[in-house]
Symmetry: C2
Subunit: 394 residues, 2 copies
């Protein structure tokens, strides 16, 4: 009999992926995914970039390249992080990964032995929970409110818990909650982190997609001790199909991530890197991000307006300043997982919230994505979900 490693008992595939299979039919109005809107992809621009790469450096593009990533692309990323996140960095501190999901996998393997403790917001990103599980840690969830992670609770846990090796956070337009940490919380967080000297994984896939209010400084920009590992990605500002993300960290920590990259898959796709790099040379990514923000901003408003109209007063939801998601809390007695099946029967889908809590519970919640449905479908879908919720009220 084949025997598997113990970690395989914990990895059972993502519920979202299974649900997405159910919702793949074209008649379904799906708020379940986290996909960027494909109609906005700069297909002609990326085609021109691909032609340029094959004409000017085809052999290089088809060959192995370095583990760290293509130097010109790493330089552009460092420049962008300076401009957008006020992070004082350079190409030497950037590792190109196969999407920022791979940065999560590496973070777990660099910092976590079995039974070590990882702290995360409650709720938090399902893909991070799954990536971390492969290292068999214990999860402690830190409660959150509309202003982000609750710092008194974080400090309490740090003061009383051994083997805390890593803290995972998404301070901007969090997945799944759509919430953004206030300046006060960010300051308090960095003070606590500097006291306990615990490495922080700051996951920032949506930071550039702000529709209103002021940008908040990234934790990495406030990091004086080299404790913050910043994960970025092209998936939400350009396209996910190239599978390009990056990790920005101190020299010492990044070296460990490089070792993991080398043993995991040697390097990110050379062709993906060079095509993306050429696109950035030829076009303005800022202009493209403005377009995305305009469309997503409208879809967000459309969804929030429809919720206000069709959802009963017994529900609450977040008003995100940016990103892709809002988060709905139902009365405690409604199970959003069961209700999801009732919704799919009416050709509308969301992701039940329970999977976003590593230790379970909270089944009266769900996540709504507004980035990849046109406005008329958003209104119709919200109307249908509203009807289902009302039918479940006691």
């Amino acid at each position: 009999m084949v025997k598997y490693a113990e970690r395989m008992n914990l990895l059972t595939g993502s519920e979202i992926r299974e649900l997405l299979k159910l919702t793949a039919q074209p008649e379904i109005i799906s708020f379940a995914g986290g996909l960027p809107a494909p109609e906005l992809f700069p297909v002609e621009g990326m085609k021109a970039a691909a032609i340029k790469v094959m004409d000017e450096m085809g052999r290089t593009a088809m060959q192995y390249s370095t583990t760290e990533g293509v130097p010109a692309l790493r330089e552009k990323i460092a420049e962008r992080m300076k401009a957008k996140n006020n992070i004082d960095t350079d190409a030497e501190h950037i590792l190109i990964t196969s999407g920022s999901q791979q940065g999560l996998d590496f973070a777990a393997r660099v910092f976590l032995d079995k039974d070590d403790v990882v702290l995360m917001e409650s709720p938090s990103y399902l893909g991070a929970i799954n990536a971390f599980k492969a290292c068999e840690p214990k999860f402690i969830e830190i409660p959150t409110d509309g202003n982000g992670m609750i710092m008194e609770e974080l400090e309490k846990v740090l003061a009383t818990t051994d083997r805390v090796k890593m803290i995972y956070v998404i301070p901007d337009f969090q997945n799944p909650s759509g919430r953004t940490w206030t300046m006060e919380r960010r300051n308090a967080f960095m003070e606590i982190i500097n006291k306990y000297e615990i490495p922080v994984i700051e996951d920032n896939p949506y930071g550039e997609l702000r529709f209103e209010n002021e940008n908040m400084p990234s934790l990495k920009s406030m990091d004086t001790k080299g404790l913050v590992v910043f994960l970025g990605t092209f998936s939400k500002i350009l396209a996910p199909g190239y599978r390009l993300g990056w990790t920005c960290a101190s020299t010492e920590i990044l070296e460990k991530f490089n070792f993991m990259k080398q043993s995991s898959d040697l390097q990110a796709s050379t062709i993906s890197q060079l095509e993306t790099n050429a696109f950035l040379d030829m076009y303005s990514l800022d202009d493209h991000v403005e377009l995305i923000k305009e469309v997503y901003g409208k879809r967000r408003k459309c969804m929030l307006d429809a919720m206000a109209e069709y959802f009963p007063a017994e529900c609450t939801w977040t008003i995100p300043d940016g990103g892709l998601f809002t988060w709905v809390v139902l009365p405690k007695y409604i199970d959003a997982k069961e209700m999801a099946l009732q919704c799919i029967a009416k050709n509308v889908a969301y992701v039940p919230g329970g999977s976003f809590f590593p230790n379970g519970g909270n089944d009266n919640t769900f996540r709504m994505n507004y980035s990849c449905m046109p406005e008329e479908k958003i209104v119709e879908g919200i109307k249908r979900i509203g009807e289902v919720i009302k039918a479940n009220l006691k």
Copy 2:
């Protein structure tokens, strides 16, 4: 102070990568890499494929796709495995990975807990040793000879060792030794494996690159109990820059690999997969492989002839029937690591063999790659190494 996971003590970067940095200057004649010859890459064909993909399905190519990989490409891979390796499989049993290196990483994580035992040929592929190390196993090396792994030694270890969870082998044109297992060894191996029911990772990156003698059946084609996990790749038959490999395994085992893929990096690059798939629709990969075989076959002959002329009688080396490498054994008193520096001083490079032994030793060996140097440089490089060897003889 930041604390790392214990596995990070074992991962210190590959010696080859460090050496490749030293040998990157154009004046160096390098036999150190394992790179395919870039002058053979079908750049125009891949450019045409890229244009076709962007014209016909640009949005799909830039979007997320499934963890398992693009269905059309998985079907083509299954067909190719039937045709080339006589493996009775289908698309459902294929997972697309980010190079076959990622299959090695997943194999370790699916099968190995800390202190479990992995068996491998002595010597074996450095990248596999590094990937497995991240799971902190114990390595037991099984001795080899010109006919492959020595089966009496394998059986002895299996009969007397607890916690053997996985056996890693490269039966065709092995990296680093260039050796191929005989039919007799393959039969004996499968008999032993079926008795002990241990999963086998059959790594086959070079199998199609045979210059002479008959093809040998893959272990996977002889597998009646679903114990063999086959790893394939486009890196050596098409191009490595797209980072596309695949894993073919039983339904049960492949499901575990799929979970690892999902938590590691979600999916391989959609753009890489669709461009490669379009190339395979538009052109004959078989014709391209014939071209590669012709060129590599000549370079191999050139290297072997030059070795016979310039290397002293105190050395031995393998005569590979295919693949990219030959393996040189020096007199025991010569340290190939020290000698590598003497060679680099003469602008010629190889990889010292010690790194290919997970438990160390065997410093009187080195690996030679013949695929990516033109013939006149091969002769000149071998001449220089021959001189250095002679200067080190007692």
